[in-house]
Symmetry: C2
Subunit: 117 residues, 2 copies
C-alpha cells in the first residue's frame, strides 16, 4: 500500500491524509445490496438452506408432504420457512389438488452467487 502505516496520526492528518488509506468506496450500490441481503437473509437459516438444497437438486417440483418428514420441525414451521423463501423470491409453488409443489425459481440466486465469486 502506498501510504506508510508507520506514520503517526497527527503527522498524517497534518499532511492532509484522511487517516490511513487513499479513498475507499463501495462498488455495490444500496439497491443491489438490499436485494442480495434479502436473499442472503432468507438463506441464513440452516433449515431453509437445506430446503433450497433439496429443491435445487431435484429437477422438478417437490411436494410439501415429502419435505415435512425430512426435517425435525412441525408442519406449520415448515410452511413458515417456505413462505419466507417465497417472499424472498427464491422459490415458488404450484397447487395440484390437495398437494403443493415447490420449486426454485431459475436464476433467483444468480446475483448473489455472482457477487460471491
Amino acid at each position: 500500500m502506498p501510504v506508510d502505516l508507520q506514520l503517526s496520526p497527527k503527522t498524517k492528518r497534518a499532511a492532509g491524509a484522511p487517516c490511513c488509506e487513499p479513498v475507499v468506496y463501495p462498488d455495490v450500490d444500496r439497491e443491489h445490496a438490499l436485494r442480495m441481503a434479502e436473499v442472503a437473509k432468507a438463506l441464513g437459516d440452516p433449515i431453509r438452506l437445506q430446503l433450497v438444497d433439496v429443491l435445487r437438486r431435484h429437477a422438478g417440483k417437490v411436494c410439501v408432504c415429502e419435505l415435512v418428514p425430512l426435517f425435525d420441525i412441525s408442519q406449520p414451521t415448515l410452511s413458515h420457512h417456505l413462505k419466507k423463501l417465497r417472499d424472498a423470491g427464491i422459490v415458488d409453488s404450484e397447487r395440484q389438488g390437495l398437494w403443493a409443489y415447490y420449486y426454485v425459481i431459475p436464476d433467483a440466486l444468480e446475483e448473489l452467487s455472482a457477487w460471491l465469486t
Copy 2:
C-alpha cells in the same frame, strides 16, 4: 417426472407411493448447512454486505475511520456490524496504534459461494 401428477391422492397412496415423487433427500448435511447459514445470515444485512464488498475489493486492510463516513449509521452501530462479521468468521482485524484495520479472511466465503454456483 416419472409419476403421473394427475392421479388422485387415494389412488396413489393405494399404489404404495408416499404421495407424489419417489424419494427426496438433502445433500448438504446439517453441519455444512449450519456453517453456510451462519455466513449467509451475516451477509443478510445490506450494510454488512456493502462492508464486505468494500473490504473485498480493497486488497489490503481498511481502516475503520474510512468506513464510518461511507454509511449513514453511528460509529457504535458500524462497530457492531464489524463484530458480527468477525463472529461469523468472514473478516478479521488488526490494531495499529489508534486505528483498527479490517480485512476479509481468504476463502471465508468459498463454501457458500461453491454451493450457490
